[in-house]
Subunit: 126 residues, 2 copies
């Protein structure tokens, strides 16, 4: 099903080649992936994909986030240039943030397509 151009594999090969004995220790992707896919970031990005939201609206969209973490995550996203907060406090995605929606969408689609398999695997292993 996927005879695709081995993108991920290539990248890994590159990291390995450039990084030498460091293996994947210095792979620059790590920081990116781990910063963006922390507990709340991707969720907020998805929420803001739809439209700009204010602080309170985001809280309602993600009811189980604490005020503290909402603030903190939004600051992180701002710092990474993915989200902007204008004077009217309507958080919205930047151009960079919107560009992330495609990869995120790919992940979401994957999760949708394989939800059953994932659940099956877990229930078996448990």
């Amino acid at each position: 099903m996927d005879a695709r151009p081995a993108s991920a594999r290539q990248k890994i090969a590159i990291y390995r080649a450039e990084g030498g004995q460091d293996g994947l220790a210095n792979c620059p992707i790590r920081a990116v992936v781990q910063n963006i896919f922390d507990k709340w970031s991707s969720l907020l990005l998805m929420a803001l994909a739809e439209q700009p939201y204010r602080f309170g609206a985001l809280r309602r969209l993600v009811p189980d986030i604490s005020q503290r973490m909402l603030t903190q995550t939004l600051r992180d996203l701002e710092r990474h240039g993915l989200v902007a907060r204008p004077a009217d406090h309507r958080y919205h995605l930047t151009e960079l943030g919107r560009s992330l929606l495609d990869p995120i969408g790919a992940l979401v689609r994957w999760a949708e397509e394989h939800t059953d398999e994932l659940l099956d695997a877990q229930s078996v292993a448990r």
Copy 2:
């Protein structure tokens, strides 16, 4: 175990369609994304994308992972059905695991393409 309701898929559909009454609190994607993109999982998946590796080889590939976390992460990946560990201890991706390489690849490509912007944003914000 047993036939869990197809509600997983439906929740996704709901979440995607409307944004939901309960917001994104019950979005099943969250579990998937957060389970797979924890500190080490995606890294190991990328490593195993190339070829099967044994425990020691993986340690060398990811030098800054502790033995404890390597074991634990591999067990998690097994439990999710993404990685298999045959008798010869050569960990390898399952079909499901391989199917994840595409979305991960999309993310990696994004990170590569936007590394400069990300760094700029951070340095400015700092």
